[in-house]
Symmetry: C2
């Protein structure tokens, strides 16, 4: 571990404040006598608050979890407490899977350089990942994050279509770069001010609480929303570039589009000369169980697919898969594309190892079986608890929407946060999301078992029983990640 005050070069050793508030008045430090090899939770939090931007996310900010170890579907705090991780879809094949660790370790000691040199790891990974997609999606770019992948996808679509206009879904989240923020209504603090003119927002295809939830054919109605936007774009004399959607919205509230939606929406987009981008950053790599990619559940064929989070089981790797035609359009208008870290031998070795584990441990079938079991259990909870308005999902991508009133579907946001906190007290980590912050999310590592499911369901049953019986459900709201976005319940 590091005793940085003895090691650092060229820095001052001034003394000063002892809290964040004092720091703002006197921006100096008194950490020079701190032994950082043995930080308490409070010391670690203090250092973070002082030197890591406070706008960054931290779960349970007022009493954050200090996590020091991860193994399979479990995480461990500094006191050795074991938490059941129901939400980390990045630790896809299980936290610190030994096969992934071994691959990383071997390659890190061998070669960790850029893709300007030929290396088998990149060549074989590019082959292998594209083989997992239907034709003509047989060429890829590797990148370092979902944001980079979506940013590049938008550039590809613009190059191929020649258009400028982008259609995105309400409540979508595609990443943190400027380009991604611009197409992520989930992150807009001011829905008018933050929406650039080239961005058009179609309704989220939510069949429980969405705009066309009660329509006879929601898939058709939601697709027609896309069509209407396209018509408006044409009337304005502009050209569509792309329609981008998460194959299943996660931040948007664990939304599964109705059957037929993608096919019909994609058809409208293609007729207008636009490209369809399926963002599989959250839901790809077999999470849905029945298929490797969530768009396949809709029988649709995107022009570009972006992948990320689970791809490296924690390691920064992501990618863009497309056709030779689209890649060629981008090549024609571009100077060489170079991304320093992308496609390095370590990232590719880790990528290979993740695919190996998914295959060797038959994780798709496992996700399908455990996911069905969990969904059935959640449906039983719904029968028992009025608070649960809807349960939905496929594979290990599940959501439970909480409402105060089943008819009006009034979001039960306070209750959702209360449940979240009580689950934490029971050493189970879930999360709350959706436009109204009333959807409990479950997207655990893929090794999540039936026993874990039983534990989760039992805890949920107990906690929901208690919360439903309690009047004081708002106490914990402030200490969680409540965004500033003006959404229904939060502005009340």
């Amino acid at each position: 571990m590091h005793k940085l005050t003895k090691k650092r070069q060229g820095s001052d050793t001034s003394s000063g404040c002892s809290s964040l508030i004092e720091l703002e008045l006197s921006p100096q430090r008194n950490n020079s006598d701190l032994d950082e090899s043995q930080l308490t939770k409070e010391e670690s939090l203090k250092l973070r608050n002082q030197h890591y931007a406070s706008v960054t996310s931290l779960f349970f900010r007022h009493d954050p979890l200090m996590i020091v170890k991860g193994k399979k579907q479990y995480m461990y705090d500094e006191n050795g407490n074991q938490y059941l991780d129901c939400i980390n879809n990045v630790a896809h094949v299980g936290h610190c899977h030994p096969a992934v660790t071994a691959a990383a370790t071997q390659q890190i000691s061998q070669l960790y350089t850029n893709c300007r040199y030929l290396n088998d790891n990149l060549s074989t990974y590019a082959h292998r990942i594209t083989e997992l997609f239907p034709q003509p999606l047989n060429v890829c770019f590797l990148t370092n994050s979902g944001s980079e992948a979506n940013d590049l996808a938008l550039q590809l679509a613009r190059a191929h279509s020649g258009g400028t206009e982008v259609i995105t879904l309400d409540a979508a989240y595609h990443g943190h770069t400027r380009s991604c923020m611009e197409i992520s209504p989930y992150k807009w603090v001011d829905k008018v001010k933050d929406k650039p003119s080239y961005v058009h927002v179609a309704s989220s295809p939510d069949v429980y609480g969405g705009k066309h939830a009660d329509a006879e054919n929601p898939a058709h109605e939601y697709a027609m929303d896309v069509k209407h936007i396209i018509n408006n774009i044409k009337q304005d004399g502009k050209q569509l570039s792309s329609f981008i959607m998460e194959s299943m919205q996660s931040c948007g509230g664990q939304i599964l589009p109705p059957s037929g939606y993608m096919l019909e929406a994609f058809r409208h987009v293609h007729e207008a000369g636009g490209l369809c981008i399926a963002d599989e950053v959250q839901v790809g790599f077999g999470r849905v169980g029945t298929h490797y990619w969530a768009f396949e559940t809709q029988g649709a064929l995107p022009d570009i697919v972006t992948i990320g989070k689970p791809m490296g089981n924690g390691h920064p790797i992501s990618g863009v898969i497309t056709s030779q035609k689209v890649a060629e359009s981008f090549r024609k208008i571009s100077d060489h594309y170079f991304n320093t870290f992308a496609g390095n031998p370590v990232s590719c070795a880790i990528g290979h190892a993740v695919l190996d584990v998914i295959s060797d441990e038959k994780l798709l079938k496992h996700a399908e079986i455990v996911g069905n079991y969990a969904l059935q259990g959640m449906q039983k909870l719904k029968e028992k608890h009025q608070l649960i308005g809807d349960v939905r999902g496929i594979g290990l991508f599940l959501g439970m929407e909480l409402v105060k009133d089943r008819t009006k579907k009034t979001p039960a946001t306070d209750e959702a946060y209360e449940i979240l906190h009580r689950m934490k007290e029971r050493f189970i980590i879930i999360s709350v999301d959706g436009p109204n912050n009333n959807v409990l999310k479950f997207k655990p590592p893929m090794c999540f078992s039936k026993d874990n499911t039983d534990q989760l369901l039992q805890a949920l049953d107990d906690v929901i029983t208690n919360v439903s019986a309690s009047d004081d459900s708002s106490s914990n709201k402030k200490s969680m990640e409540v965004p500033k976005v003006k959404r229904a319940v939060l502005v009340q």
Copy 2:
């Protein structure tokens, strides 16, 4: 290694073409019988050409180097040939440094999750990295690439200044995301079409071949270019957001701004309410020898600094360092900032290890000593060879500009590529860059020694002697990374 046809799930096993050209006609594959654990160089290249986007950079594309191992300042091809690496500033403390490998290995097996949980590695790294900056730069964001860091820096500047306009330098390169491409004239294929209206281009402060190279006070003249742009922005009724510059331009041709330039340019920017962003992605972490950060050589104080490449010795990690005030401005207008992979415990452990090695091995002092030695040697070569118009640099950041005529400074681009190829034949890797592709670049791993320098200088002496005597210096031009950008010599 991977025999992917036996492992992959959900993919077809069709057969078809045997070359890239045939592939375009019949987009199917015949790789299913390929044992990818034992690829020849040709097979690896074929797979890459088929499945990895061809717009991506590959050195010596028509006869690329297959690299299988890296150690210290050396790389090794599939036949065990050792190459002296004079250009990889990412492998900062040496390829596969055992201390970095050990830190990565330990942490990968322990915990590899996101920064929504409190973890000492992030807290202590945030503290440690900010301690390396002058006040009030005492808060950081961690990101995954230089592009992500610059993208975020631009967002911070916009939030704090309230402005929209950005001033960048000619020949600048800041990354591959859309936002970064927009401020990177180095990457613009069409200088009129690719320049967004909010972007303004100031002259590169090049004191050898630049606009004000022959002025009495180039620093002042170049800074006045920035001032004139600011005046124009004001006249248009717009507000400056930021002035972004690489503290020393690398892709732009190893450009060291004249003394006093940053101070004066920054003053103009601050007077206009804009923020100054120093991009240290290429040149930071002690490369210049005398200081940890290249902006310090100018005695200037930026508002935001971006760091990247060398930060993880190959591992994807980067960052943005700023003041509490700027970070607070961003927080006020933002929902939570979340970056999935950024600040994970493995990236931070690696970041710590890199800082440890820089300190333990006294790499700043080493870079200063070896850099001075190399610069002196290059100056002697300049005295001997008319082809060398200029040598410049500081620490292990060095450039050698080649000209056909010392008076007219006509770029010797063909000769530069010929030298590059002949150096490769002598197992020494250098690169060619700059707006006219006539600058030989040297930015080796920081463990580069005096013996390596002797080897490099001797080889350069021999090769330049031969190239200068030869008429046939254009044969290798096409096989290197010659950009499509219409620069002086390339359009001939």
